[in-house]
Symmetry: C2
Subunit: 282 residues, 2 copies
């Protein structure tokens, strides 16, 4: 199997490692605008060959793992070039804009819109892991727009990497993911900012911070180059979640201000319900 991966960072690199493990005969070609990362990817044996965007004509599978703002143009270009039997899939955190941009492409049936819910706060080829996608959910959007044969090929790859599949409408995907992913990142980035602003003496933060703080602020280490375009593309949904989050925080603040600690208790008790829901994913 000949696989071309465009964007050989955490996600593209983890696909490389996972696919190589599952399909030992694979030949992986890497493409990246960042030459340093590309060379590192070869040094780390993520990829076998340096490729070019134009070179995707020879690929059986093309994986596009680039920031969501450039994904529509890159996938369009790739679809323009690939053969009729090639599968192209992406891994972006927003789906509506991309699906819309590709809706009328003559090779739309070669494309599978995917979002593997997997990642870490690190980025670049060094952060890649062969089992990143194991036991993770992969959301597929508009599956009916992909040809049967290529759906099958995609599912085979996802299955061998240990993913479970969920099918969703792109707009529903973007709305839901704003709550369970995009908002978490903003809450974490702003928590990091608030503490950094206050605690000028860094030694003090380090000494007083426990695992609870580390856990809550972990996502503030994430890549701005990846996240700024996500917030831009999912602007409406992200603003809605942010408004609700800020309203809930303000309400909680008012309860404390008014010494209504019975209700402070009840609010937390209700939020405790998240326990039952998250069982098994952390």
């Amino acid at each position: 199997m000949k696989v071309h991966i465009i964007g050989i960072g955490l996600i593209g690199g983890s696909f490389a490692l996972g696919i190589r493990k599952a399909f030992p005969d694979v030949e992986i070609t890497g493409i990246d605008t960042n030459k340093e990362n590309l060379e590192l990817a070869k040094k780390l044996s993520l990829i076998d060959i340096f490729g070019t965007l134009e070179g995707v004509t020879s690929a059986e599978v093309v994986i596009v793992a680039v920031p969501v703002d450039v994904a529509p143009a890159v996938v369009t270009k790739v679809l323009d070039l690939v053969g009729n039997n090639s599968l192209v899939f992406d891994a972006g955190s927003t789906k509506a804009h991309l699906c819309e941009a590709l809706a009328d492409h003559p090779k739309r049936r070669n494309f599978l819109a995917a979002h593997p819910i997997a990642g870490t706060e690190f980025s670049g080829p060094k952060a890649a892991m062969a089992d990143l996608f194991s036991q993770k959910t992969n959301i597929i959007c508009e599956v009916e727009k992909t040809s049967f044969k290529l759906q099958e090929k995609g599912l085979e790859i996802f299955q061998k990497l240990g993913m479970r599949i969920r099918y969703m409408d792109p707009k529903a995907h973007d709305r839901h993911i704003a709550y369970v992913s995009h908002l978490s990142h903003i809450s974490s980035f702003m928590l990091g900012k608030t503490v950094l602003e206050k605690e000028k003496n860094e030694r003090d933060i380090f000494d007083l911070a426990g695992s609870g703080f580390a856990s809550t602020v972990r996502l503030a280490k994430s890549s701005p180059a990846m996240w700024a375009p996500i917030f831009q593309q999912n602007k409406e949904n992200v603003l809605e979640t942010l408004n609700e989050y800020i309203a809930n925080l303000s309400e909680f603040k008012n309860l404390i201000e008014n010494d209504d600690f019975q209700e402070v208790f009840s609010e937390m008790e209700r939020a405790n319900h998240i326990k039952t829901i998250l069982k098994g994913i952390d």
Copy 2:
């Protein structure tokens, strides 16, 4: 060594396990208002004997690990009862109110105000772990108010449990800890609330939530009985952190609303600095 532990939950229970490992000859007496937890603590061999508050007269060391709203009364009562050579220490997340309440107690020199920065989102004796305090920071307040001999005894215990010690003024403690602990809990509780309110279909949350969300919302599983009194006692500092956090979130929201994604990027890049600071604690 005879140790009495008042409050045999996550913290008290972890002291029991840790101390038993470090001092094999210890005899541990447990006291708790929750009879079920007390019996469970004996069943789990956290404690050897059921005790009473009045029985602390025979203790060499008394550990008070109760919610911060009842701590001042409990520690006062314990100090009233203990012998001149007994060490009493607490483990509460707020220090100013407790230190003030005990300032004029005739046995103030028997008391050591401590806050081990350790815990998990779970509670009760089942959640106790022998190594909970290993490599964790223990903040000691007003150390000069404790007798030399009992400082030494406390430090011996903390050292054997693997803690590193930091000395702080109680007010500075409460101010700093509001940022690196109390605010994280509120941000997490409210994140949990926001998502729960929105996602009525629980299956969807489970499927779409990745490890990032789980990490950010982890603290929303924490015990309301422990946290409501903490927010109450540290009200002024907590309100200050909340105001700053809400202001930062609102500012970030405005940047998105105004399509200033260059500044959204820069904000996240600055928050990335948390990486270097947290190195080693998560």
